[in-house]
């Protein structure tokens, strides 16, 4: 993995800041977010590592990980962060960068009947659509 000036100050890093309203440089890597995360066992890059990757400008690696789709926006990390980093907001920005691309979706309309037939509440269906598609 190569860190360059361009990756450190590139447009992607700025875009994440603009969408999330958060400054990833605030994080000092204590790992409290990862310790607090109830779904860390299913993630390929841990929450504090997501922030470290972004501090180093390695946006592509983070956009390609499953972590951003596993994050449940439960806000446990944000509530416990000693630096006040809004990590769920950063995760949302990363998802948004992908979801805003034409044709990108993590949830297809064809998946809907399967979910509906199980009695999934509307709240879950709308949440799924909001988080996984645009």
């Amino acid at each position: 993995m190569k860190i360059t000036t361009q990756s450190l100050c590139g447009t992607m890093v700025k875009e994440i800041a603009a969408i999330s309203g958060e400054n990833v440089a605030k994080c000092y890597q204590c790992g409290k977010c990862t310790a607090a995360c109830p779904v860390n066992m299913a993630m390929d890059i841990l929450p504090h590592q997501v922030l470290r990757f972004l501090q180093l400008g390695l946006v592509e690696a983070v956009l390609n990980c499953n972590t951003i789709w596993i994050c449940a926006s439960c806000f446990t990390c944000a509530g416990r962060c000693p630096r006040g980093v809004d990590l769920p907001g950063v995760m949302e920005a990363l998802r948004a960068i992908l979801l805003r691309k034409r044709g990108f979706s993590r949830f297809k309309a064809g998946d809907m009947p399967r979910v509906l037939n199980k009695g999934m509440p509307e709240q879950g269906i709308v949440s799924g659509f909001r988080k996984y598609t645009k």
Binding site: I19, A72, C74, E122, S127
Partner: protein, 274 residues
């Protein structure tokens, strides 16, 4: 006592039992909840992207309508409460979003966050008062060991939600004790249930639910109560995924217990199917 009331989509469909029991209990307690005339879906999840404004608009419409009546806005679904409360906070604190939302909606009066959003539990605790509620209890739930499940949306992020102590809340336990029940203390009560991950990653959620249920059982719970339709679905349906269809711990909405304690209706024997 009169309040504006925002129900939300799920309470009109899969979680109708939550709304029906809450409204019935409110009537018995002399609380008037006036459903807003033109409420729209809140969007179920709070928009965490700060560069778009459209996801805020339906919440702002409801908040503004409540302000016109001068009443506090009562919510019941944890997700709707989360979204409305946070949208209101943004309208109060973020001038840029607030101006954009007002310009877009062209409301008769500018809305700047003047409405107070309270959850039904806060209504019972702060407006009616648990001591007044205790006096209305006709059929105390004496001897019943109940575990309260808070989930995420009512508590976090603590700075905005200001619902209770986010790491060690007590409002639901105090509510249960008011009804005469024994509140079970267990470490997973503020844990995430997995929320909408069950749309795509059922196995992950089933594992999370298993931890919650087992923790409550280990601490002696005979039933678990929640305030969120999605927590309810996950706790109920995915619990059975890991127990081969067996329901080891019954799941109720907190309002079902309220209804029972007020002597309005007995809880259904088993809540297997939603």
């Amino acid at each position: 006592m009169r309040f504006s009331y925002y129900p939300g989509c799920t309470l009109k469909t899969t979680a109708a039992v939550l709304e029906n029991s809450a409204l019935k209990a409110a009537r018995a307690l002399g609380i008037e909840l006036l459903e807003q005339e033109e409420w729209q879906c809140c969007g179920a999840v709070f928009p965490l992207t700060v560069d778009e404004i459209a996801p805020f608009l339906s919440s702002v419409r409801s908040l503004a309508a409540a302000k016109d009546t001068g009443e506090k806005l009562v919510t019941l679904c944890a997700a709707c409460h989360h979204v409305l409360k946070r949208a209101n906070h943004v309208m109060k604190t973020d001038k840029d979003v607030c101006n954009k939302a007002n310009n877009y909606l062209q409301l008769p009066d500018q809305y700047r966050g003047g409405t107070e959003v309270i959850h039904y539990l806060e209504l019972l605790r702060d407006e009616l008062g648990f001591s007044a509620l205790a006096q209305k209890v006709k059929k105390p739930l004496t001897g019943q060991k109940i575990a309260a499940f808070y989930g995420c949306l009512l508590l976090r992020p603590p700075a905005v939600m200001q619902f209770d102590n986010a790491e060690n809340p007590s409002i639901m336990e105090d509510f249960l004790r008011t009804l005469g029940a024994t509140a079970v203390d267990y470490p997973y009560r503020t844990e995430c249930c997995g929320v909408y991950l069950s749309v795509q990653n059922e196995e992950i959620v089933a594992g999370m639910v298993e931890k919650i249920i087992n923790s409550a059982l280990r601490h002696g719970a005979e039933a678990i109560v929640d305030a969120c339709p999605l927590c309810h679905y996950n706790l109920l349906e995915l619990q059975q995924k890991t127990t081969h269809g067996k329901l080891t711990l019954p799941v109720y909405y907190f309002t079902e217990l309220l209804e029972e304690a007020l002597g309005l209706e007995d809880r259904a024997e088993e809540k297997m199917a939603i």
